[in-house]
């Protein structure tokens, strides 16, 4: 077990290194840097001014060396501001340049760098944004897991019944609906003052405000309400629900055809008891893995949903960083994403071994 864990951690670190280097390399391509210089300083700079600006701000060195600086294994660059003569450098505090700076300041030292789009440190941005996304994900999981498990178990309990057919088609339909489609449809149906349900409800006197829900979740950052948070949560949850339900159904139908279930039924145990006591435990092993592996997919949905509903969380930040070629923020985002992906894989593997005594790692 320990060797397995060590190997997995080794792979994780190697993956993280490769990925961050790819992101670093792609964001540090020459055209991207020129665009960065123009957005940071002035859009009307000449080619040589751009070059000077890049050199002055430490972008002039070779990519590998600067990647090492970001990582914290190569000393950070130092230089002088050409106008004021104040010291500049990777480790120098831009607001307080005269204090003595550390030699190394990279990810290994816990310095995530500085965001050029938000003009603030990456670690503070990431922590607030991740918190916002965490709340979203929490509600998504609270909604998604019970619904999908119940749907999957109910439809897998009697394979081929009419209920099973109906629920299966519904699950397939949700997996065929990407977030940008379901979000658009939900907004139009439930949050438009002129279309969908809201005008009808208003006409019947059941609704007093303009619309049932809000089409923007921007206010949910301050406090979450039913009106401003329902639609984003449902939008993210919908895509995953169908998939998990399908997997639960498959596992449930497999268990229901097992010998011990038939024995129990023939012994005269009630169908309800068979499902709840005999089948459920064994049928829930596979969905656990699926749920864990679904979390990285949710991350994708979160990016789309946060953009659509203007909820300023991690996904929204990632889009802003990518559009502004914000190198260090993007690196931070990709590190977080990679850790989420690999950690959920690890948890699902360990959980699978733990839940299923037939599998043992030699």
């Amino acid at each position: 077990m320990l060797r397995f864990l060590l190997r997995r951690f080794g792979t994780m670190i190697l993956t993280g290194l490769c990925l961050s280097f790819v992101v670093f390399y792609l964001t540090n391509l020459k055209p991207n840097l020129e665009r960065l210089a123009k957005t940071q300083a002035s859009a009307r700079m000449t080619q040589s001014q751009v070059h000077d600006w890049l050199v002055e701000h430490g972008y002039g060195e070779p990519v590998l060396k600067r990647y090492g600086e970001w990582l914290g294994v190569v000393p950070g660059w130092t230089g002088k501001n050409t106008e004021t003569g104040a010291p500049m450098g990777r480790c120098v505090d831009p607001n307080n340049p005269t204090t003595k700076a550390a030699t190394y300041c990279g990810i290994l030292q816990g310095t995530w760098g500085y965001s050029t789009v938000f003009r603030s440190s990456v670690s503070s941005i990431l922590s607030t944004r991740l918190q916002a996304t965490g709340i979203l994900m929490l509600w998504v999981l609270i909604l998604m897991i019970p619904v999908s498990l119940v749907v999957g178990i109910v439809s897998g309990m009697r394979e081929g019944s009419r209920l099973d057919r109906g629920l299966s088609v519904a699950s397939i339909a949700t997996t065929a609906t990407p977030e940008y489609v379901s979000g658009v449809v939900l907004i139009v149906l439930l949050s438009s003052p002129m279309m969908g349900l809201s005008p009808v409800l208003r006409h019947w006197g059941l609704l007093h405000g303009t619309a049932l829900f809000k089409g923007s979740a921007a206010s949910a950052l301050d406090h979450v309400t039913f009106a401003n948070f329902t639609l984003p949560v449902v939008t993210v949850a919908l895509y995953g629900t169908g998939y998990i339900a399908r997997m639960t159904r498959a596992s449930m139908t497999e268990v229901m055809t097992a010998q011990y279930i038939r024995t129990a039924r023939l012994k005269g145990v009630r169908f309800r008891t068979v499902v709840l006591k005999h089948a459920l435990r064994n049928a829930l092993i596979a969905p656990f893995t699926v749920i864990m592996l679904q979390i990285p997919w949710l991350l994708n949905g979160v990016v789309i949903t946060e953009t659509l509903f203007n909820y300023k969380g991690f996904g929204w930040t990632l889009v802003q960083a990518a559009e502004g070629n914000d190198i260090e923020l993007l690196l931070g985002c990709s590190i977080v994403a990679v850790v989420v992906v690999l950690l959920t894989q690890l948890i699902s593997d360990i959980g699978y071994i733990y839940l299923n005594p037939r599998i043992r790692i030699s």
């Binding site: 055209p31 057919r165 065929a176 940008y180 489609v181 449809v185 907004i187 994708n300 789309i304 990632l318």
Partner: protein
């Protein structure tokens, strides 16, 4: 009368799709009549779910083929007075052509209906083609990885997992920005990825016919001539005759979609090969002294076709979703392109006031992907039956 009523709009829409209905009727009538002789394809018609899925898929396929006949307006034509027009609005006096904007106008006063139909053509060309390329890459690498295992497999699996660990949207942003194009990374990726179909087909013919030289030379020669000709045109835009060409924007989108899909296909093929290589018929082929590529391509691959066909259907749907995602973030083929993702993106800004420009392509995309998923489900059920 300046407006059509809702039922009149519906009637007109059904009428516009007349060529599609005729083609669908013929397809279904012929297929059901001969379904016992059509193998797996015929068995779709035994499963109601598969039939519904096939109906939806073929509806959009025929809509894409007959797009020229179905469209009521040019997808880029702007009629100033019809900006954000309601569905069923009559064209202002003095304009020629079809008299209505059946599904309304968008924020640039273009016909939403025609754009949706034009978008179907765009999506149904790119998505299946990208999926085929992803399959070629996945199969050519996945078969040896599963067959030989060992270090080759370890390295490739690591790379595949690396690509899969990337958040898709970040990858798209990194690969589809204009800056990247200047550096030539998409062309480089295309140069690698587009080579795989040629390699695949060459090995395929060679491993089978190397004992019959004239046949081998004919097939391999044809593959190499046509393949490399297309390759030069598609990847480098350097086709001397100008038959094969790809817009650089399109190339960008295409390459990144193939790049995202290929690792998953690789993993599926590798897993299947792992499973199949211990079967008796593989051992028999090995004893006969067949070459490894013959065994992989002509013994293992045909026997893995069931799950691969199912996954192929699902993957076209997933590719459609990915293309939509690209469009949604404004990274699509071009800003005025009628593809569904871009139109949803353009329409979402005024969603609660003028919903139709976004909802129409959204429903179109949903129905196509749903059709593909239902078709895949039907196929899976039918192929599991024996």
């Amino acid at each position: 009368m300046t407006h059509l009523s809702a039922s009149a709009v519906l009637g007109e829409l059904l009428y516009r799709f007349l060529p599609v209905w005729i083609a669908l009727f013929l397809t279904f009538a012929l297929s059901i009549a001969y379904k016992r002789r059509l193998g797996l394809y015929g068995r779709i018609f035994d499963s109601p779910i598969g039939m519904v899925g096939f109906f939806l898929v073929m509806f959009w396929a025929y809509a894409a083929i007959f797009a020229g006949m179905i469209m009521t307006h040019d997808p880029l034509e702007q009629v100033y007075r019809l900006k954000d027009a309601l569905p069923g609005t009559k064209m202002p006096a003095g304009t020629k052509g079809y008299p209505y904007y059946l599904l309304g106008g968008d924020h640039l006063a273009r016909d939403v209906f025609s754009r949706m139909v034009a978008g179907a053509r765009e999506v149904l060309i790119i998505a299946p083609a990208a999926t085929v390329f992803a399959y070629m890459v996945g199969i050519t690498l996945g078969l040896p990885a599963g067959y030989y295992a060992g270090r080759f497999d370890t390295v490739l699996s690591f790379v595949a997992n690396l690509v899969l660990a990337f958040p898709v949207i970040l990858l798209f942003y990194l690969l589809v920005t204009p800056a990247i194009r200047q550096v030539g990374i998409p062309v480089g990726l295309a140069a690698v990825l587009f080579l795989f179909p040629v390699i695949f087909l060459t090995i395929l013919w060679n491993s089978r016919y190397f004992t019959v030289p004239w046949k081998r030379n004919l097939y391999v020669g044809l593959t190499l001539v046509i393949g490399l000709w297309a390759y030069s045109g598609l990847a480098f835009n350097a086709d001397p005759l100008g038959v094969f060409a790809m817009d650089s924007n399109l190339l960008n989108v295409f390459v990144s979609v193939v790049f995202v899909n290929a690792p998953t296909v690789f993993r599926i093929v590798r897993g299947l090969t792992f499973d199949i290589k211990s079967r008796d018929y593989v051992a028999a082929a090995q004893t006969r002294g067949e070459g490894p590529w013959y065994i992989m391509l002509w013994e293992i691959l045909p026997n893995a076709r069931g799950p691969l066909i199912v996954d192929f259907c699902l993957r076209i749907g997933y590719t459609t979703i990915l293309l939509g995602t690209l469009g949604f973030f404004g990274l699509g083929v071009s800003p005025e392109s009628p593809d569904w993702g871009s139109t949803i993106n353009a329409g979402r800004k005024l969603l609660s006031i003028y919903p139709w420009p976004a909802v129409v392509p959204a429903v179109a995309l949903l129905s196509l992907v749903l059709g593909l998923n239902l078709l895949a489900d039907g196929l899976r059920e039918e192929s599991l039956r024996d």
